[in-house]
């Protein structure tokens, strides 16, 4: 890229625009998604194979590495635009290296669109957001944050500029900071980190403080298991977040910014470093931004892997070089933040939305979503759904639409049981909540939280007591340990739950667990610790019968908790001559009756590994799990010993 004189952004953008137009209308392009998720699915092999084949064939094709389109179930994704074919761009997936030859011969060199590998054609909305008309999910989705994700090259700032990047910042720098704040206020934007605090209120408070310097922190410490929204945004479109941060800095009068992200996100770190250097080079970051009198620079900070550092005051302590522990609020960071100075801490997605709001106007934004929760929500849809991935829907979309229409429903014809929203400290909602609109207030009322946007779908094969134990185990290990409720209370909940999944405990313990959770929710030093009560309280609220089955009947209804199940071979179903289970059992716990050839599980030898159930041929499905364990005796007696 040519070195540009600062303040000459318009020329640069015009050049980028021309190059982009040419690329879009007349060049043969192959876009390959190489974010972390795509790489895990093998996209680097796909990329390498494309590179080799295209070189070998001498084809004039542009290989473009892009970010994530959110269609995780179909990774690695490849998008080919062959203008000569007269066809629109086509999206393919999953494309491993084995499929590359077919695509090169078919659609790179020829005009055969290889429809057997295609997901659909790519079309564009008025604002340039790509969508796939063949996929019904795009009718529900509205991509404000993910607009560029999976379409532009995140390492090429010209792509961002060509799509209007930093134009908003140019305009914002000509406006009074108060006007920027009031635009965000008009948008009624609420923080995307999870708590949903009105962004403009925070900004105003910080702006009013008569103290210098002021700081901006972008919270990219995405620690929730199963959540990857912030990673995708930063890996796929880092400049939108940087632009949002510079706009925010102008609005509150900050001179320095930080992006605090996980060091376990190496690609985020790498791409942000490149993007920050590019931003400095074209003069949208650093001293005298775009020739104005405004100075602001951003520093990248890598966290050391502590979940607690996602809490804003712990994050501030960590940046200061202290142990990453939350401190009591108030005072809020907007008043007393980093190094004791006024500081605004916002989530990655909040900054990305700030850019959109200042571009399109607060009024426009406030019309999307619901009156109290405006705009869109990004979810990482995972668990027992057909099409896992990133989803961006307007606030107020129902859970049913997200799970069934966007996610494609539950696989293998199983029954939906619960949806876990808001990360480990979120809540598990039952089928009765499926028609709940997804917004901050509805979720809170139901006992869950918006959280950072994790959404894990559970079906009938998931035990809710074990699910609660799993999340509390995570929280007990990851809470900072500073206050009594967080350190000892959460651990005590875990000890009780660990007993429940073994069938130990009684109704009084259920009561103790519930009261303990309520106390932790109210008495913790920080909201992160307080939210540790959510997985327990919501599972007790919606799935109390499962808890009661565990403690009263020593029975696990979902047949998950190891201590409460036994394996049994159903005589009527067993083929008898087949010895799969006998031969694979690692502890020789399955024996064959010499006379009848029937199989029997010796319970004292069985370690409940489940191998017999896995290997029993599906046409027989003779191995079953039963709970409570004693039930196996009844079955054996009924079968005649």
């Amino acid at each position: 890229m040519k070195k540009q004189v600062k303040g000459n952004l318009n020329d640069l953008r015009q050049g980028a625009h021309n190059t982009w137009e040419e690329l879009e209308t007349s060049a043969l392009t192959v876009r390959i998604g190489t974010p972390t998720c795509g790489r895990a699915a093998g996209s680097l092999d796909t990329l390498q194979t494309f590179r080799e084949r295209i070189a070998k064939e001498g084809a004039e094709a542009h290989l473009i590495e892009v970010g994530c389109m959110g269609l995780c179930f179909a990774e690695p994704l490849v998008m080919i635009n062959n203008p000569e074919s007269g066809l629109p761009p086509i999206l393919y997936g999953p494309i491993t290296y084995e499929h590359v030859q077919r695509l090169v011969e078919g659609f790179v060199l020829g005009d055969d669109p290889c429809l057997e590998l295609a997901l659909g054609t790519v079309e564009f909305k008025e604002d340039g957001t790509p969508y796939i008309p063949e996929m019904p999910r795009f009718e529900i989705e509205e991509r404000l944050i993910l607009r560029n994700c999976g379409y532009i090259d995140p390492l090429n700032i010209e792509h961002y500029l060509a799509r209007g990047g930093y134009l908003t910042l140019q305009q914002v720098l000509q406006t009074e900071p108060e006007k920027v704040v009031s635009e965000v206020e008009q948008a009624r934007l609420r923080g995307r980190g999870g708590a949903g605090f009105p962004t403009a209120t925070k900004w105003k408070l910080c702006r009013q403080m008569e103290k210098e310097p002021k700081y901006i922190i972008c919270n990219a410490d995405e620690g929730d298991p199963g959540a990857f929204m912030d990673r995708v945004v930063l890996e796929s479109d880092p400049h939108s977040v940087i632009e949002g941060m510079v706009i925010a800095a102008h609005a509150i009068g900050a001179s320095r910014g930080f992006v605090y992200t996980r060091a376990e996100y190496p690609l985020v770190m790498e791409r942000l470093k490149v993007a920050l250097a590019q931003a400095r080079e074209i003069g949208v970051l650093g001293d005298a931004i775009l020739g104005s009198g405004f100075n602001f620079d951003i520093e990248l900070v890598g966290g050391a892997g502590a979940f607690a550092c996602g809490e804003e005051t712990a994050m501030i302590a960590s940046i200061e070089g202290q142990r990453g522990m939350p401190r009591p609020r108030p005072p809020y960071p907007a008043v007393y933040g980093l190094f004791g100075e006024p500081t605004v801490v916002d989530n990655v997605k909040t900054f990305a939305l700030v850019q959109r709001i200042l571009e399109q106007g607060g009024e426009w934004f406030s019309r999307i979503g619901t009156p109290n929760s405006t705009g869109t929500a990004v979810f990482a849809l995972a668990g027992r759904v057909e099409q896992i991935g990133l989803v961006e829907v307007p606030m107020g979309t129902t859970l049913r639409e997200v799970i069934y229409d966007v996610g494609g429903g539950i696989p293998e014809g199983r029954q939906f049981k619960a949806v876990q929203i808001g990360g480990p400290a979120g809540g598990c909602l039952s089928e009765s909540s499926l028609d709940l609109p997804v917004d901050y207030d509805s979720l809170k009322e139901a006992g869950a939280i918006m959280g950072s946007g994790g959404m894990v779908v559970l079906d009938e094969s998931n035990c809710m007591v074990e699910t609660a134990r799993f999340f509390v185990d995570f929280l007990a290990r990851e809470c900072c340990g500073k206050c009594t409720m967080g350190r000892l209370g959460v651990k005590q909940m875990l000890l009780i739950l660990a007993d429940f999944v073994k069938g130990e405990g009684d109704e009084e313990d259920l009561d103790l667990l519930e009261k303990l959770a309520e106390d932790i929710g109210q008495g913790c030093l920080c909201h992160l610790g307080g939210s540790a009560a959510n997985p327990v309280l919501t599972t007790l609220r919606y799935f109390r019968d499962e808890y009661e089955a565990h403690v009263k009947e020593k029975r696990c209804p979902a047949l998950v908790c190891k201590e409460l199940i036994t394996y049994y071979v159903v005589p009527e179903k067993c083929e008898r001559a087949c010895d799969h289970c006998v031969l694979t059992c690692p502890t020789e716990a399955i024996v064959t009756d010499e006379r009848t050839r029937l199989k029997k599980v010796l319970q004292d030898k069985c370690v409940k590994c489940g191998t017999c159930l896995d290997v029993c041929p599906p046409e027989y499905s003779a191995v079953i799990k039963v709970s409570p364990p004693e039930k196996v005796k009844e079955l054996e007696e009924a079968a005649g010993g």
């Binding site: 500073k482 409720m485 000892l488």
Partner: protein, 221 residues
């Protein structure tokens, strides 16, 4: 003695029905204690800003606001505080129960016998070690007697953080701090070295503020 020329602004609030004047910015806890109204507390240090807020024993209720930590929340004009609100009392008891459940109750042979703030507070709060809790899986750690003046018994520590605060703020030394997280969080020296090999000057400020027998002077304190 002459009257101070300028007085700090004060506010009036109500604590347990009693009208109280307190300096602007004062925390509820200290305003109450100054008026003889008792609120349990262990980790609180008046000069600590921001406050530690770790023990959760000083929770009170504020009308229109709910449960707050009185060592953290500042007084406001017209504020109405109830130290005996049902929820606040239940939460304070819960915090005390949790601390007791995790503490080795070997009071008979304890060097702090008779002067243990923690034990006295639990008696005042009428809280006993709960029987229905699951036992915490605390592993016994060796007692560190390497320092010429101070004995450090990590098993007795309730992790209030007072010692760390005084050492950093008053003495300026940092021979020890908390490591690990969650239930495993514990107080130790840099690289887990014996206290005697650390930078500890032995001033004893930490011993003075320790509410249990985690930090004691040698020879019976």
């Amino acid at each position: 003695m002459a009257e101070p020329v300028t007085e700090k602004a004060t506010v009036e609030l109500t604590i347990d029905g009693k009208r109280v004047r307190a300096e602007q910015g004062e925390k509820i806890l200290w305003a109450a204690l100054a008026e003889g109204i008792a609120i349990p507390h262990l980790c609180a240090i008046k000069e600590a800003e921001p406050p530690l807020g770790t023990c959760r024993l000083c929770l009170v209720e504020v009308e229109g606001q709910g449960v707050v930590a009185s060592c953290v929340e500042s007084v406001r004009e017209g504020m109405v505080v109830h130290t005996d609100g049902e929820r606040a009392v239940a939460l304070r008891r819960r915090a005390m129960e949790l601390l007791l459940a995790d503490h080795p109750l070997e009071c008979k042979d304890c060097p702090k016998k008779g002067k243990c703030d923690f034990l006295q507070l639990s008696i005042a709060m009428k809280v006993k070690r709960p029987k229905n809790y699951r036992p915490f899986p605390r592993e016994e750690l060796p007692v560190d007697a390497s320092h010429p003046r101070i004995i450090f018994d990590p098993n007795k520590c309730i992790r209030c953080g007072r010692c760390v605060w005084v050492c950093k703020e008053r003495v300026g030394e940092v021979p020890f701090d908390f490591i690990q997280k969650g239930y495993e969080m514990r107080l130790t020296t840099f690289m887990d070295k014996p206290l005697g090999e650390s930078d500890c000057t032995g001033c004893g400020e930490c011993v003075e503020v320790c509410p249990v027998a985690a930090l004691c002077f040698k020879e019976g304190g």
